[in-house]
Symmetry: C2
Subunit: 143 residues, 2 copies
Amino acid sequence: MQTQTTPTAPQSQPQASSQPQASSQPQASGRSLEHPRREAIRLEDVLHALSDPMRMRVVRTLAEEEETCELSCSVFDLPVSKSTTTHHFRVLRECGVIHQIYRGTAKMNALRRADLDALFPGLLDSVLAAAALQEGRLGGDRG
Amino acid sequence: MQTQTTPTAPQSQPQASSQPQASSQPQASGRSLEHPRREAIRLEDVLHALSDPMRMRVVRTLAEEEETCELSCSVFDLPVSKSTTTHHFRVLRECGVIHQIYRGTAKMNALRRADLDALFPGLLDSVLAAAALQEGRLGGDRG
DNA sequence: AGTGTAGTTTGACGATCGCCGTACTACGTC
DNA sequence: GACGTAGTACGGCGATCGTCAAACTACACT
C-alpha cells in the first residue's frame, strides 16, 4: 500500500516507482494526472458533471464495481469515440468525482467516495439511488 | 383550495377562475404555464438545472421559505437582468423543479418538493445540505 | 385613460459543450 | 526495433448556455 494511492485517500504525488518489484501488476508510473484537492471540489461542478448521461453511466458503473476499487477506461465501452471518452473521464477527474492513475498502458478509475461523502454527505448515494429508480421507472437499460 | 393549485400537488390545469371572489389576494388567472408531469421529470435535467449558481440560489431560497409556499420572482433580486431572471425561472419550471402560477402581475414560485421527493428520495435534501455546507466551508455569502 | 410594476419575447453575443477524426505519445510484448 | 494497445492533444463542427438590451404584454391603481 505504498507504491499506489488508495482511492479513499487519493494524493496526486507522482511517486515514480522507487522500488521495482516482480508483481504481475504494473505499477503506477510515468505520467501524472492533476486532481483537485478535496477542499477545492465544488458542488456545482459535480452536479454539472453528473448531468451528462454518459458520465452518469460511468459513475454508476464505478459505484456498482466499488469493491473492485479500480476500473480501466476501456472496460466501459461507451457508445462514443475514444477522444470523447477521454474528454468525459477528464471532466469527471477535474471536478473531483473520480480519481485516475496510470497503470501500464491502462488508466485506472475510481470514485472519490470518501471525499464526496465528506463534502456532501448523502449526495452521491441519493443521486445513484435516483438514477437507479429512474432507470427502473423508464424501463430502459441505461440509456 | 379550488381556484389555486397547491404546491404539494401541482396540476397544470388552466382553470380560468370560474368563481370570482372579493378576496384580498388576486387569483391565478389569464396566462397559463406549462409544467412537466411528475413522471416526465428527468434526473439529468434536474442536476443540470441545479448546476447553475443562480438557479441553485433560487432553489435554496425557495426551500428556506418553504412554509410561505410561494414567492414572487421579484423577491429574489438576482444580480442579472430581468430577461436572464425569466430565463432561469423557466429552466427550473420546465425541468420540473419549481411550480409557477400567475397571481395578478406577479408570478409565484414554489418548489415541487412532493414530486421531487417521490421521484428522487432524499436528493433535494442532500443537495440543499451540500450547498449549505459548501457555503459555510467557503465562507462566502451565497456566491 | 394614463402611469407604473412585473414579467415576456426576440434576437443577438461570446463561451462552453458534446462530439468527431486525425495525428500523436506511452507502454508492453514479440 | 517493430508492432499493437490504451489513451492524449489538437482542431473543428454544430448545438446549447448564460447573458444582455430593447420592445412588448398583462395587470393594478389612480
